[in-house]
């Protein structure tokens, strides 16, 4: 009831700005995705769902871009959560130089992706890169790969780099979640004879759920929106092996095929809205159950 303190017209300005800068362009985007808007002609004609047909027709690579995007999203959600959680658990306990380690693991998150990309491009260079040089130095020549230019490895490398960059951020959120769990639960569990695994499974994990849902939503949206990591590391190559939705959208726009580009981004918008809706509902249910 407290929100009744302010009359509704206080929100009008914000709603207006939101409407003009977010809702209107969004609706316009949907309209343009149904037209042949392009940079070669001045007239825009309505062509129905042709652009969407193009996206799913055979002989085009768009379906593989969608699969790549989903693959990236699923892989990074799992990897970042697992690694972030592992680090959070380790750094929550009494470990030496705890603060130092936390900062070091968090550090990659604040470096811009373009910088990270350029650094890793050099590290992963098959001939002169640090990684292959190190492997060869250790006598592990067979493990040296053409990380970013071999079609079998390029996408895995991108996922690896993105995980390296993002895991620290997830760790910080989970760490905050861990610290909000009262010690008394663990003491009670110990009295009941629980071992470490039991404590993790029956105390830590359920109480960490709200934080885990938050990190999953963040990772999910980040994964679906992936662009810079791919753009700077491989630019979709070799060939089209690592192209994702946003690099494809970017390419369509630079080719002047605005209609197809808009259709592709509308599709992604729709997908993200649906996924976002269900995840938030799930989250609300979890919270509801807590109370």
């Amino acid at each position: 009831m407290r929100n009744k303190i302010y009359p509704f017209y206080f929100a009008l300005g914000t709603v207006g700005v939101y409407f003009i800068f977010f809702v209107v362009p969004g609706l316009m985007g949907f309209y343009y995705s149904l037209t042949d808007w392009n940079s070669y002609s001045d007239t825009i004609t309505f062509i129905g769902l042709d652009n969407f047909k193009t996206l799913f027709s055979s002989g085009e690579n768009y379906v593989s871009y969608i699969i790549n995007t989903l693959n990236f999203t699923a892989s990074t959600v799992i990897l970042k959560t697992a690694i972030g959680l592992l680090f959070a658990l380790i750094l929550n306990e009494g470990i030496k130089l705890k603060g130092f380690h936390r900062v070091m693991i968090f550090m990659p998150s604040i470096v811009p992706m373009l910088v990270v990309g350029l650094i890793f491009k050099s590290i992963l260079n098959p001939a002169t890169g640090l990684l292959n040089e190190a492997l060869r130095w250790m006598g592990l020549d067979f493990m040296a790969q053409k990380w970013l230019v071999d079609a079998n490895w390029a996408f895995k490398s991108i996922i690896g780099v993105d995980t390296w960059k993002g895991a620290g951020y997830i760790m910080i959120i989970l760490l905050a979640g861990l610290q909000s769990i009262s010690r008394s639960y663990y003491e009670a569990a110990e009295i009941d004879g629980a071992n470490s695994w039991h404590k993790f499974k029956y105390v830590t994990l359920p109480l960490l759920m709200p934080a885990l849902v938050v990190t999953t939503v963040l990772n999910l949206l980040h994964g679906l929106k992936v662009f810079e990591a791919v753009y700077v590391l491989t630019n979709g190559g070799p060939g089209y092996a690592t192209d994702v939705l946003y690099t494809a959208i970017f390419k369509e726009f630079s080719m002047g095929r605005y209609g197809v580009g808009t259709a592709l981004s509308s599709l992604l918008f729709l997908f993200m809205t649906i996924v976002g809706y269900f995840v938030i509902r799930l989250m609300a249910r979890e919270e509801g159950r807590d109370q």
Partner: protein, 468 residues
């Protein structure tokens, strides 16, 4: 919500003061920014009004009175030579017209240019590539550029270059470029001599000599595939050969009577290119190699050949002064047994924007650049230029270049400057080629993709040859 209201209720005396201080600061900042922008505007406004005044007072063709005008000029990185900037300074000293260069990184350039043209906010002069499909589809010159047919230099510029800038009988831009200097294979003569090799006349000869080099522990070819555009030259530049084997091919492609996928010579060239890669002629790291390293790699003596602009030999000597430029010779790409020296009569060109307020001054600048003594100055002061596309200039061809011209007397226009809708998909062809080398697609698939993209572009351009 809770915290929000709490904040409000505690907003008392000192907080109020703080808040109003903040507000004042913000207002001051906004005022400064607005004033700054406004200042800029009035500045350019003053610039804009003064030439109109002086033009009215009749400077006209005399060019005697000094004006106070700034011409803005948008171009891609690498298109403006230092020598041209020097000339622009002289031009300013003589006429008072300043050239303000706005140089954009090459991979973003066309997006920036097209956005500006579409928004009606282009610069007084803008750079663009020549070629009929390029100037009509990409820049829509009939709407966006000024007709330059009446200019004096049009009569002197190489007719082949002018042809690339002409649409419906009107000339829309000026090309000052080294159009005679094609990309050819530069080879290390010392290495060739050591292994008793001579320049190849067929693909089989090229393959044999590359194998000899490889067996001797030398990587035959430095090929910077990572750049995305360079390796496409291997497919596009033997274009005159495709047209030679199948007479009328170029015209039939433009008339949509033939498709890329049906041409056996193109398929052969792609198959051979893939064979070169598979045999290891490009080394183990070609997918990660970049053009920026070409000169250094060639100077190292570990590579015998590279496909490059002829001026690369100067860069090699710069990279290692012990390796002399004259240690390198040239031959043409031998794919599909090509023996034709391709010419690319187009190049980066200068257009005058039709919405410019200073069309006359811009014309004056182009005329200034095209004066014979200024062309010679540019030629003499830039190491990447061997000759320019205007007659009566003293060229800088080295001995090997003269030999190259003498060896390959037959010349032809490359495919992207003659066949429509090829140049705009250059980077896509690069991706296709990499996919082909990586066994993801076959040569036919690549040719099919080219046909498909051409058809897409032709449809949006409302090309009658593609109309059903």
């Amino acid at each position: 919500m809770k915290t929000h209201t709490a904040e409000h209720s505690t907003l008392k005396g000192s907080d109020m003061m703080k808040k109003s201080m903040w507000l004042l600061t913000v207002i001051a900042l906004v005022a400064i920014i607005v004033a700054g922008c406004g200042g800029g505007n009035t500045g350019s406004g003053a610039n804009a009004s003064s030439p109109a005044g002086s033009a009215n007072s009749g400077t006209g063709g005399t060019g005697g009175a000094k004006q106070n005008i700034t011409l803005t000029y948008l171009a891609s990185q690498g298109w403006i030579k230092d020598a041209e900037m020097q000339l622009a300074k002289k031009f300013e000293a003589e006429t008072g017209i300043r050239i303000d260069y706005q140089i954009v990184p090459s991979d973003q350039y066309f997006n920036v240019l097209k956005t500006k043209l579409n928004a009606g906010e282009a610069t007084d002069l803008f750079g663009g590539q020549s070629g009929k499909s390029e100037i009509s589809l990409n820049y829509n010159v009939e709407k966006n550029a000024v007709d330059l047919s009446g200019e004096e230099w049009v009569k002197r510029e190489d007719p082949l270059s002018i042809e690339q800038l002409t649409l419906n009988g009107k000339v829309y831009a000026q090309t000052i470029w080294d159009t005679g200097s094609s990309f050819v294979i530069a080879y290390n003569k010392k290495i060739f001599e050591q292994h008793g090799l001579t320049i190849p006349k067929t693909y089989e000869e090229f393959k044999a000599l590359s194998q000899t080099l490889l067996d001797a522990g030398i990587t035959p070819l430095y090929e910077p595939i990572a750049d995305g555009w360079h390796h496409v030259l291997w497919f596009a530049e033997p274009g005159p050969r495709y047209d030679e084997v199948t007479p009328g091919l170029y015209d039939d492609l433009n008339a949509n009577k033939k498709k890329f996928v049906d041409d056996p010579t193109m398929k052969l060239a792609l198959t051979q290119f893939k064979e070169m890669y598979d045999l290891g002629f490009m080394g183990d790291n070609a997918f990660s190699d970049t053009g920026a390293d070409s000169a250094v790699k060639m100077a190292s003596g570990k590579y015998a050949m590279t496909l490059a602009a002829q001026s690369i030999v100067n860069d090699i000597e710069k990279a290692d002064p012990n390796v002399k430029a004259d240690q390198f010779g040239y031959f043409v790409i031998p794919l599909a047994d090509n023996q034709i020296y391709y010419i690319n009569p187009g190049g980066p060109s200068k257009f005058i924007y039709s919405g410019s307020k200073h069309i006359e001054e811009a014309k004056q600048y182009l005329a200034y650049l095209a004066q014979p003594e200024n062309l010679q100055y540019m030629l003499d002061n830039d190491s990447t230029i061997s000759n320019l596309n205007f007659p009566g200039l003293k060229d800088k061809y080295n001995e090997e270049q003269k030999k190259l011209m003498a060896t390959y007397t037959k010349k032809g226009t490359d495919i992207q400057d003659y066949v429509n809708y090829v140049n705009p998909q250059w980077m896509d062809m690069g991706k296709d080629l990499v996919a082909m080398l990586g066994n993801a697609i076959q040569p036919e698939d690549m040719l099919k993709s080219i046909d498909k993209r051409r058809a897409d572009m032709a449809v949006v351009a409302k090309d009658p040859a593609w109309a059903k």
